[in-house]
Amino acid sequence: MPAASLTAIRSFVATPAPARPALPGRRAFAFKGAGKRFGDKIVLDGIDLDVQAGQFLAVIGKSGCGKSTLLRLLAGLDRPTAGALTFGAEEEGHSRTRFMFQEPRLLPWASVVRNVEVGLIGIAAGEEARQRALAMLGEVGLADRADEWPSLLSGGQKQRVALARALVGQPQILALDEPLGALDALTRIEMQQLLERIWLAQKFTAVLVTHDVAEAVALADRVVVIGEGRIALDLDVPVERPRRRGSVELARIEGKILDRLFG
């Protein structure tokens, strides 16, 4: 892609609220024949996955199938032992990949807003960092808790702070490792809606690893099922947003995925 059109796309990204899919043809990242071995154990093998910028991808699989390893490769926490992982062009003022863990992993000795500022290390500092962190806390609905200790928050609120920390640096890719797994069912649905709302507004590429098929289908544009280290199913979810939970369409896709997982 020529540089001129790339800049054109960048300025397009900066303008608010164009309809999705916003960026046809631009690549966020691609695995090409990627594999990962730990000693003799092959965790991932021959993964080919090309993901467009702005796409919401869900990765499902039974535990131990390698889906978390895929995410760690994406976030640079591990390196592939075979094949390659390439990224699209880096945009100025954006961090490339942010990782949201299964646990909130907030610093207990830093106030809520200082925890969000961690997401701006190397991007902004001082008063600017504080203002951006406060704005992001507003997005997740916790502006009034900015100066409290994390230990005073509930599990769902902590995970919202972690989401704010991940997004405050405006990442191009957000990698989520079952971040809602430990929440109760209602808080979880609330968080899913929050995540979808912010994703629609900020247009990052989201990669959500989950074991919850309903969650994957409700949120994702595309669902990838991993089994025994390979991609077993790669499925688009062509359902309009806002999606209605429990609709026939979503249930049909969910059934298809479950069939593949247990069939």
Binding site: E103, R105, L107, P108, W109, G119, I121, P150, L152
Partner: protein, 260 residues
Amino acid sequence: MSLATRLALGRNFIGWLLPALVIAGWELASRVGIMPANVLPAPSAVAEAFWRLTLSGELVRNIGVSTARALAGFAIGGSIGFALGLANGLSTLSRGLTDTTLQMIRNIPHLALIPLVILWFGIDEEAKLFLVALGVFFPIYVNTLLGIQSVDPQLVEMGRVYGMDRRALFLRVILPGALPSIFVGLRYALGIMWLTLIVAETISASSGLGYMAMQAREFLLIDVVVLSILIYALLGKLADSLARLLERLSLGWHPAFQNG
């Protein structure tokens, strides 16, 4: 005055209730003659000794000398212990190199070195400083090391993923995470500090509280002996209170410090 402050004052007061009762009972026992004055003088006699020595300036001078010794020894031993604790917590090479040796030395009671220390330094200041520094070193070292080793590795990984360099990782994740354990070491070390100083001053000194007590023993001034012991107790309590205050100020985030 709000109810909360009144309750807090009440809680502070309640700790002093028992010592006050003991002193009252002790005074009574002395007055009615159950407790002979050559075994334990009455609190009023001790208070008199306190006043006498304060007027002569002897008490203030000796407390000053002892406190200076204690703090100097603490500063030396504490900073070496803290530095080595940090080094061994952060670097496996440093730990591999020194930890075994330190653990061996740790098992020698430092007061057992007194004969050797007297031979080396005589009864000069160095002898006291050396013993206090050595006594203070180990609790600080062990707890600093333990604190750093027990920092949540998930938080360290988070810090790395979010782009913290080594300096930021140390200042924002590792050091605050190790702080509760470091404070445990600090408070323990303060106890050892006074203990070591008392013993060292009792055995070999020409000034200080321990020396004052030994001199008083020579002249059978039992009220001064008791006074020195009480002052040690108060100084120990003072040091501990200061450490607790510092703890409360810097560990405000810790759930254990949020309700009191």
